[in-house]
């Protein structure tokens, strides 16, 4: 495939605001998951909460978008000079030639959950200050971002559960290849809400401890929230030596079950192989794999089988969800940025919270940070409904 150039990128999660805090937290190998004290949730679990979301004020003319998800979106957009990079791209290409393709699973549904507590006692109506379209609706975060930058080009939300913000790169690639745009804001934003906390609880998929990806006794996820963005463009002739490129994308569907992965990881291995094919790389070229690694029994077992089948047992890999929590629709974007950081810093982050690795999964799972040349990174994102997406990032110059 034609590679994409990541001209700017940023991430905000429980690890911190922006790249420096994110990289620092990964280096310290410290989980940022805390006992759940979100709203009045009465579940015994850990969450990855972003500090300061509640204090974010949207511009007055965009107040109709006010909800936690768009507050986190704005917090994310204003880190690492990302907003300036977008405005420079708009100046370069025009406001009709910059697309907005963002992933989210629940958007601003928290706003509706809270509105249902304030229904009219007689009529049952939702309160008059509730605005559905610019908060609850799945599209709201892309609408907000498009409005924030006064854009007039294509925009859409990709919402395929936990693969959402990996798949946004695919939409951007096709729109660039088709000549509809010259740059795109891609990424994902998902925020804590009751639907996902109580929903994953109903499936018995949240852990009462910090999540432990690839531990033999792992027993579920810790839910997190994040905003991650990248500005992608066609590959220019001049780039910095440490520039990051997206080289391969692989997508597949399990066609198996709504909330369980294919037990042999069939869809997952297809996605990884397609990404390698698109990048023109061999499995042995990949230096590090950022796993989906949710810490559910079924995901890690299936993903481990799929990784082993393609890469064998020697490719270093880890899940960073033990540090960030599972940020659902933002996970693909967040882990794309973590992959870029791994490339830039020649640094592979350890998987946290492991007491005993699952002996049934013969992969090279990193229990300690590793510093070594990193040229190519593969990042996995898999979602409910059996949606799979693997991304391969690389550096322009040799590591």
């Amino acid at each position: 495939m034609n590679p994409l150039y990541l001209s700017s990128y940023t991430a905000t999660s429980a690890l911190g605001h922006g790249l420096a805090q994110t990289q620092d937290a990964l280096k310290q190998s410290r989980s940022h998951l805390v006992p759940c004290a979100f709203d009045d949730v009465d579940l015994n679990t850990f969450i990855g909460k972003v500090k300061g979301v509640e204090e974010v004020s949207l511009p007055v003319h965009l107040s109709r978008f006010n909800c936690r998800n768009n507050q986190l979106a704005q917090l994310g957009l204003t880190q690492d000079g990302f907003e300036d990079a977008v405005r420079a791209a708009i100046a370069r290409y025009g406001n009709q030639r910059v697309g907005v393709f963002l992933g989210t699973s629940t958007a601003g549904i928290l706003q509706t959950e809270l509105a249902y507590r304030r229904r009219d006692a007689t009529s049952g109506a939702l309160p008059p200050d509730f605005i559905y379209g610019t908060t609850h609706n799945t599209y709201s975060v892309a609408d907000f971002t498009r409005s924030y930058f006064d854009l007039e080009g294509p925009a859409v939300v990709i919402s395929s559960a936990c693969s959402s913000s990996a798949k946004v790169f695919s939409t951007a690639r096709r729109m660039l290849d088709a000549g509809l745009i010259d740059a795109a804001i891609v990424g994902g934003v998902d925020t804590l809400c009751l639907t996902t906390l109580y929903g994953f609880n109903s499936l018995q998929l949240i852990s009462e401890q910090v999540c432990r990806p690839f531990d033999v006794n792992r027993n579920g996820i810790s839910i997190g929230e994040a905003a991650a963005f990248a500005l992608v463009e066609r590959v220019p002739t001049d780039m910095n030596a440490d520039a990051i490129l997206l080289l391969g994308i692989g997508e597949s569907s399990d066609a198996y079950h709504m909330s369980s992965p294919h037990p042999e990881g069939l869809g997952a291995s297809m996605a990884m192989q397609f990404a390698l094919d698109a990048a023109g790389l061999k499995p042995s070229d990949i230096d590090y794999i950022n796993l989906h690694g949710t810490a559910t029994q079924s995901n890690d077992a299936a993903e481990g089988k799929a990784v082993h089948q393609i890469f064998g047992s020697n490719t270093p890999c880890s899940s960073t969800k033990g540090a960030t929590g599972h940020t659902l629709g933002a996970a693909g974007g967040l882990e794309a940025v973590i992959s870029a950081l791994a490339l830039q810093n020649n640094f592979m982050p350890a998987g946290l919270n492991v007491n005993q690795l699952d002996p049934a999964t013969p992969i090279q799972y990193l229990l300690k940070n590793q510093s070594a040349p990193v040229q190519y990174v593969l990042s996995n994102s898999f979602g409910f409904g059996g949606t799979n997406c693997s991304l391969i990032f690389g550096k322009v110059t040799k590591a």
Partner: protein
Amino acid sequence: MKLTTYIEGTSLIGPAFADWASAQPVLLGQQAYIASKTVLPAPAVLPPAERRRTGAIVKLSLAVGIAACEDAQQDPKTLPCVYTSSSGDGDNCHAICEALASSDRAISPTRFHNSVHNAAPGYWGIATGAMTNVSVLCAFDGSFGAGLLESLAQVVADQTAVLLIAADSPYPEPLQSARPLADALGIGLVFKPKRTANSRVQIDISLTHSPASHMANVALEHLRLHIPAARGLPLLQAIAQVQQSNATQSLVLDYLDNCQIAVTVTPCQGT
């Protein structure tokens, strides 16, 4: 930038539209539009255990997807899918929000996995066995336009056939008052990168600032304005007209503020 593809399959289910064959005379103005509630066919393609768990949006999405593939004489298993919906399963969303606002917040696992925006495409994969890529979209009232643009970008960029499924079903109260949708409506289209013997019409699209075309019929215009998927009705009308008259049609489809989609539909017969 103009994108050119060929349509080989079309389907439509909606208020008074049982299928594409019976909808065409209505869209052509040869038969009167007689309003009635959308009838959702049972999803025979799903195993019984899964069938019981599916709501209106899944039934509608599977039905238009299967019908479009049949019309195109195409095995659904082989097609990448673009799925677009403004709001997913409204009944399910209401039930979850109601439970979460009550003293007992237990929600069922089925309710939760049906709450994802990609529930219908997930069932589509289970029903058809398609392990192909699926892109699951939402652009509020512009969801049909977003799906059309995504489909044609994929057909052109990757030189592949693509199935588009656009479907919407209404919320119950109290969300219906906050987001009023007239009824359920779904559209399926199969696009090919090259003209074949099965090509019905050629479709060219580009982005434009021009305002969206309206439906001349008041009742059909009401549907267009009050169901996001029905923003595709002017395209379906043009497909029917072009096949009947063998003359090119141009129109503008609703998409986003300051960004609409200019469409030209050209006959494929007899040339």
